[in-house]
Every structure is written in C-alpha cells, then in structure tokens.
C-alpha cells in the first residue's frame, strides 16, 4: 500500500513499495498521460513534478514519492485554463507523434518556473528529453515565445 498525492488528490494504491512511481501513476492511479519510454531515467517521457521539481518517475519508487506533491500532465492546467506551456505548444504546433510531449512539457514548465526567461544555454542544460520525431526546433522556439510574452 502507498499513499500518494497526485494532482491534489490522495490515492491509496495497492502496490509494492519498490514499484516505480511511473507505473503506480499509469496503472494504479490510471493516469496514462505520463509515458513510459525507457524505464532507466534516460529519455524523460515519464517526467512529472515532485514538489515542483521535474522528476523522472520511472527512476523513483512509490516509497520515495510518499508525502511529496506530485503533479502529472493531467494536473498541469488550472481548471479549464491550460498552462502557458500547453497553450504555446498548441499555438506553435510543437508535437509530432506527441508521445514524448507530456514529459517535454513537464520539463519545460519546471524550467520556466525556475527561470522565466531561459537562454539557449539554459534550455540546453535543462531539457534533456529524447524526442525521436525531432521536435527540438519547435520546442526551443515555443519556449522563447513564452519567455518573451
């Protein structure tokens, strides 16, 4: 059993303590917006916010996540108002297949939280997600658009 606070809601989940947070979120809490890409903290598809920090949820256990405030892509918007990153992603048509984009958006949202006007170097350092479709050019442009708004 684990008690997790996800998107402001408390979930009591029947999982082993060493279950990766990613799978508890996807399979036990039923929030499938967070994606599996590698399971070894390499690709960033599973990125969520843990107490506001971008975290690869495949790389930590539910035991470690207990007591933390977890936000997934489903909880990024405030009510019906999309987060500015989601809005920019739509306006700039960033996603291709979209599979990596939940993680990409969560990583970018965390970056902008920390640095509202990131430089290209800041982006290079903070955004290390894999996108096999190759949306990087649009990702960078969209970040700068948000920053200059």
């Amino acid at each position: 059993m684990a008690n997790l606070t996800i998107n402001g809601k408390t979930f009591t989940l029947d999982v082993e303590p060493d279950t990766p947070l990613l799978w508890a979120i996807r399979e036990n809490a039923g929030l499938t917006g967070t994606k599996y890409g590698c399971g070894i903290a390499q690709c960033g598809a599973c990125t969520v916010h843990m107490d506001g920090v971008a975290t690869r949820s495949c790389g930590i256990s539910v035991a470690e996540a207990e007591g933390k405030k977890i936000t997934t892509i489903e909880g990024l918007a405030s009510g019906s108002t999309l987060h500015k990153v989601q809005q920019a992603w739509i306006a700039k048509d960033v996603p291709q297949c979209g599979y990596c984009q939940s993680g990409m958006i969560m990583a970018v949202a965390a970056l902008l939280n920390e640095k509202p006007k990131p430089t290209d170097a800041d982006i290079d350092e903070a955004i290390t997600n894999i996108c096999r479709c190759g949306t990087f050019q649009q990702v960078r442009e969209a970040i700068h658009t948000i920053a200059s708004a």
């Binding site: 917006g33 590698c38 070894i40 690709c43 999309l82 290390t128 096999r132 990087f136 050019q137 960078r140």
Partner: protein
C-alpha cells in the same frame, strides 16, 4: 496485399464498440439490398460518401485511412479533401475507419499502408475526388430543394448560395438529401493555383490532446477486465524456447498466467504490466539458441567484405558503358570502402497491442502503420474469418517503419487466444524493443572512381554488399532474386534515381542476408546509399582538385530537378562566400520517394573529435507542398533522426543477439545537439513526391563532408560513436 482477406458484404450492422478507449469510431453500416443506401455514422449523421460525413451542425467528418504517427499526414489528407469539398476548415474533424469496415465495403478506403512516404502522394488523387464528389452531391441536393439548376449554385465554406433567388443553405442541412443521390461518375479537380486550404501551413488537427495527456496511444488502452502481458522472445533471432519453470513465479503478486507465444517467446500475464514484467524477469527460461548464436558483428562484417570482391556474384541495378575497361585505362583512380550498421527504430512508444479474443470474434487495438496488414495478421493469428475480426487504430507513439510490421500484433493475439474472453494488453519493455527490432539493414560499399587526364570523371563503380529488406519482408517483390529497392537513390530511373551522369557506370549489389531481421527504417536504403555516394562524390571532387559543388554540377546537366535543390541550398548557405572563421561546410543531394532533396551543413570541430553542427540548410522539391509548416517539421525532424543515426545509431551483434538494450547504449540526440535547420521548399509541380523520409538521406553526408573540410579526415564508418567522435 491482404491475400488472406476475402472481402464479403455483410448485412449486419457493423457496430464496433470503441467507446471504451474514447477514440476511434463506431459506424453502423446499413447496406440493404436495393433500397436507398444511406450509410450512417455512429451518431446517425449521413455519409455523403465514404470520405465525408456531415453532421446537422455542419461539422465535417473526414475519414482518414492512412495512419498518423507524427508526420502530419492526417491533417494534410484532411486539407486535400476539404479543398475540393469547399467546406469550412474550422468545422473539420477526422476519424479512422477500421480495416474490417473497409474490407466489408470492398476496400472503399483503399490502401491503409503508411510507409515509404506514401501517405499523401499515393492517395491524394482519390481523396481529392472524394471531396469533389461530395461537393457536387451537396450542391445538387440544394439545387433539387430549390428546384434550380445546380450550375446556378455556388459554394464557399460549406454555405451554398443561389444568387438569383438569394437563397442560401448549409452542408449540414442538405447532407441527408445529398447522401441519397447517385454520385457523379466524373469530377474535375481544382487547378493547384486555385487552392486555398492545400498549400497553407495550417495547424495540425491532432495537437490539443497531445498537450494534456489525453491522447490515447496503444500503451494507454483500457478495457474492462483487461490484464497486462510482458514478453521475452529468444534473445537470438531464430532461436526457440526450450523450457521455462513456471512454478518459480506462480505465487508472485498479480500473476495470472504464464504462456508460450509461438515457439520462440514466453509471456507473463498479470494484473498490471509492472507485475508481469517483474515476474517475467524472475522466470527461469532455457533457450535453444541454435546456430545463429555463433554470429557476431565481426563474422557479419567479414562475410559482407567478401561481397565487395568482383569475383562474387552481384545483381546489377544501374549500368552504362564499360566500367571495368574505363577504370583499367584511366589516368587516375580513387577507391574507398564505407559501411553502415544495424540500427533500431527506437520509436518513443515501445511496441504494444491489446487483443480480445472470444470464440467468435477477435479485436485488436494498436498503433499500426498499416491497418490492413495488422488486420491480416489478426485473421491469421486468430484463425477467424474477416467478418469476425477487426483492428482499431490509435495514435502511434512514432512509427518510422517499425509499426508497418505486425509481429507484436500476432503476439498479442496469440496470448489472448490462450485466455479467451479476457482483453490482454501486451507491452514490450524498452529492452525487448531494442533487441527485437526490424533493423536498418547492414551494408558495406566499395566505390571506385576513374578520371581521364583532364580530371573528368569517366567511370564510377559502386559495389554494395549486404542485406536486403525485401528478401526478408516481402520476398514476392524481388525481381529474379534482385532487390530493386537496394538501389534507392542510385537507381537508373524512377522515384529514387541517381542525379549524376557518368559515361561508364556500374551499380551492383552482392546480396548477403545475415540472420538479424531487417525492416523499413525511415529513409530505408536511401540512408546508406546517400552516405556512400555523396561522401564519395566529395572524395572524387577533392581528388580532382575541384570544388565539391562545382564537381557535382558538371555531372548533373541531365538532371535539372536534382540540380535545382542543390543550387537552392548552395545559395542559401552562401557556398560561394567563405564560411565564418572556424566554420566548415559540407553538401549533399539525393532523390528518394519521388522527391528531390539537398542539404548543406555548417559545423565546427574541436580537438578533431567534437562536432558542433551549427546550421543546416535543407531543400526539397516534392512536387506539391500540402502543408508547408508540416513539411518544415518533417525536414527538421529528419535531421534529428538522421544525425542521431550518424552519431549514435549502431546495433552490434554478439553471440547472435543485439548488444544494445536501451537508450544508454543506443542514444538519441537531445536539444543541445540540435542544429538550426532552415528549410527551402521549391515545389515545381506536376508530380507528387514524399516528404517524411527523403531528407534523412542528406543529413549524414552533409555533416561528414563538412567534417572532412574541417579536419582533412574521411570518416567512412557509421556511427561516429565508434570512431570516438561525438557532439561537442
């Protein structure tokens, strides 16, 4: 294709319950014999024809048979239909018909296959006609209602007007009547110069859900009572399961069943996938690895190298003059050997499919690049007839050719068949995905160029040795044993023709097929052929003491379209003006998938081994550009896929198995390694070429040629990872 499918008209309502997954469609097909044949969508709205459903509120539902995997053709195809339909783009939405429905309706939606950059180019004609036909019928319905000649009515944005009487109506109001009309047998398509929707960089139709986590991919399917399966196939291709000790894991939490899948794989079925995977890892499995376990990258390389020897048999793909004589009598000759490795597609979403098998029905939910191939796989794996099977397509988390294969679909059905009545979601781990791919084929190439005393290129011998994709995937497409696709980019004519004229030319392929299964991998044979040819062209130019661009131009007089894109990148990158201090340039061109592409790179190199790709200029002539914003994204994305392949993409073989198991050993480039990509679109019209793949061909050679300009060193082996060269 679809040999196994015998199309059969089916009178029963074809209501497919996809509500559970929140996407897809449910069509009630009502096809009575004789009566008014109005076919209705699930919500009761009439089909004007197979491509167009119009709802009473004027929403236009456009049917898309090809698959969306990020390449944007769902939006592009909708643009083509909407252009001819003259509807209001803001009211357009799309849906996928299922392959089962298509087969039941005599393949009314045509080919579902989405590969070879064919999504738009090979269906543009009939989908535009679908839109035009619907428009004619809708106008006719309004004219009938007003009792005026249709020729006096006009339409714009879905509003029909009869000017003389001042009457107007909308598509939504006349759709019901239009659906009862007999379709016109001939329609005239618009002149491209009159396009208002096609040719515009409109936003994609499928973006919003991809930003909120609500888009459903195969991995996200949820069905009532569903269980999850993890699978392990024999690590050595061609090997078999000898035994497994089920007792060791039967008590584990959530585990429901252990099943053999075919003769080479074992799957664990559990409540959750994490439980299934954990149990599978604890399951002792004994494999019969067979003789292939003796194969390694070294043995493959040695076998391929033997194929470079002229004494070995080879298929001739392109030939003129007498290469051997011309080389023998040449003033100077240049020779080089290149090679290209196995590469995994590494789609972000690992392979998966969900299957529900009962004794009289088998349904599958999955991302697939070819709905009909997946459907045929379901028929075969389930043993049920066409009318009892269907495939519900969902968004693909990347395809790149991998999801044109149906191995994962067959596996899901094979597992579900052993648990009738229970939906089973099979998901491959990344490790399973990396080690059981359908790899970019492995090749080597020996090239010999010969010059006369005036440094004119008089002969070129291009001898390829290595794997054929068609031999493994579509042996029916071989021509007397020869794989014509092996010559993509260096062919005599057709959609992937060589852009150079050399008086004595011989392009040949010594086919050698190791046991590692190959597959169509974004760009396919263009990728290595473009590296070999374009890097060697650069070598020849330097051997002749000529500028690489000028050297090429002289050989391209008979190929003005190839030349035009090359000129376009040369001009945009400023080839004739010196590059900034410390910046070096490389250039390349190729034709593939019916399109002409060229690329130029600007790089800097530190310590001879750290490459910063600063800027890319890429030009393409695909005939027509349906959505320039999406073409631009495909071009930029091609450099991510192509440069990831160049720097990181190598799968090596040891003891018969692939050594790389995840992104830690099979890396992919990140945003910090991404160059600025500038696209130059020069559509010349009169033909339809593909977009998703051709550009990949020029990514690697443009950078490799720039690397030579910077260092004076030729790299003839991919990936750069293995040459100790990395991104700066």
């Amino acid at each position: 294709m679809n040999k196994h499918v015998s199309p059969k008209m089916n009178r029963r309502a074809f209501v497919i319950g996809t509500a559970a997954v929140g996407t897809g469609l449910a069509i009630g097909l009502d096809l009575p014999f004789g009566g008014p044949a109005v076919v209705r969508a699930a919500d009761g709205s009439p089909e004007v024809n197979a491509w167009v459903v119009i709802r009473p509120d004027d929403t236009v539902v456009i049917r898309i048979a090809r698959s969306e995997m990020g390449q944007g053709s769902l939006t592009g195809l909708a643009q083509l239909v909407a252009e001819e339909l003259e509807c209001d783009w803001s009211k357009v939405t799309t849906e996928y018909p299922t392959p089962g429905q298509s087969v039941a309706r005599k393949r009314v939606w045509g080919d579902f296959s989405t590969g070879g950059s064919r999504g738009i180019r090979s269906s543009q004609d009939y989908v535009r006609k679908g839109g035009a036909t619907a428009r004619v019928m809708l106008i006719q319905a309004a004219a009938d209602e007003w009792k005026v000649p249709a020729s006096e009515c006009t339409v714009a944005k879905g509003v029909i007007t009869h000017k003389a009487s001042g009457k107007t109506t909308t598509y939504g109001r006349v759709a019901e009547a239009a659906a009862k009309l007999t379709p016109p047998t001939e329609v005239k398509l618009k002149d491209p110069k009159d396009w208002t929707i096609v040719g515009k960089g409109l936003l994609r139709l499928d973006t919003a859900d991809k930003t909120t986590g609500t888009m459903v991919y195969g991995i996200d399917i949820k069905l009532p009572g569903m269980l999850n399966a993890a699978i392990k196939d024999c690590p050595v291709f061609g090997g078999k399961v000898k035994s497994f000790d089920e007792a060791k894991i039967t008590g584990m939490k959530g585990v429901k069943k252990v099943v053999k899948v075919g003769d080479s794989a074992v799957a664990v079925v559990a409540d959750t996938w994490w439980q299934a995977k954990t149990a599978l890892e604890a399951l002792p499995i004994v494999w019969d690895e067979g003789d292939n376990a003796k194969v390694s990258s070294e043995t493959i390389a040695k076998w391929l190298a033997e194929g470079l020897d002229d004494a070995q048999p080879a298929y001739v793909g392109n030939k003129n003059g007498d290469v051997k004589a011309a080389i023998a009598s040449a003033a100077k000759k240049v020779e080089a050997v290149y090679n290209y490795p196995y590469q995994n597609h590494a789609t972000m979403e690992p392979m998966n499919a969900t299957a529900l098998y009962t004794t009289d029905k088998c349904e599958v939910w999955c991302g697939t690049q070819n709905g009909e191939a997946a459907f045929a796989a379901v028929l075969e794996a389930s043993g049920l007839p066409a009318e009892k099977c269907d495939v519900h397509k969902v968004m693909l988390g990347g395809g790149f050719g991998r999801r044109g294969m149906t191995d994962y679909v067959r596996q899901a059905v094979a597992i579900a068949k052993q648990m009738p009545g229970t939906p089973i979601k099979l998901l491959w781990s990344r490790e399973e995905d990396m080690t059981h791919g359908k790899y970019h084929p492995i090749t080597q190439c020996k090239m010999t160029g010969a010059f006369d005393a005036d440094n004119n290129l008089v002969a070129l011998h291009y001898r390829l040795s290595g794997q054929s994709i068609l031999f493994s995937v579509r042996p029916d497409a071989l021509q007397n044993g020869m794989d014509p696709a092996a010559f993509q980019g260096v062919a005599q004519s057709g959609e992937a023709a060589l852009g150079y004229s050399v008086p004595n030319l011989l392009v040949e392929h010594s086919m050698r097929n190791p046991h590692v299964p190959p597959g169509f991998w974004r760009g396919v044979n263009v990728n290595h052929n473009a590296i070999y040819m374009e890097c060697f062209m650069d070598e020849l130019a330097h051997a002749a003491g000529q500028d690489p661009l000028e050297f090429r131009r002289k050989l391209m007089g008979k190929n003005p379209k190839h030349l035009a894109v090359l000129n376009a990148v040369a001009e945009k990158i400023g080839w004739t003006t010196p590059a900034p201090q410390g910046v070096y340039r490389g250039i390349a061109q190729v034709m593939g998938y019916g399109s002409y592409v060229a690329g130029a790179a600007e790089i800097s190199v530190t310590d001879g081994s750290k490459i910063k790709v600063l800027r890319i200029v890429a030009s393409t002539d695909p005939g027509y550009v349906v959505n320039p914003a999406q073409v631009e994204r495909q071009i930029a994305g091609s450099f991510v896929y192509g440069l990831s392949a160049l720097f990181y993409g190598g799968c090596t073989v040891k003891d018969g198995r692939i050594e790389q198991t995840n992104f830690d050993t099979f890396n992919s480039m990140r945003i910090n390694e991404m160059p600025k990509v500038e696209s130059v679109m020069v559509p010349s019209g009169g033909f339809w070429g593909g977009v998703g793949e051709p550009t990949i061909g020029v990514a690697a050679p443009a950078v490799l040629n720039a690397y030579f300009a910077a260092t004076g060193k030729r790299i003839r082996s991919v990936p750069l990872r293995d040459q100790n060269i990395s991104f700066a």
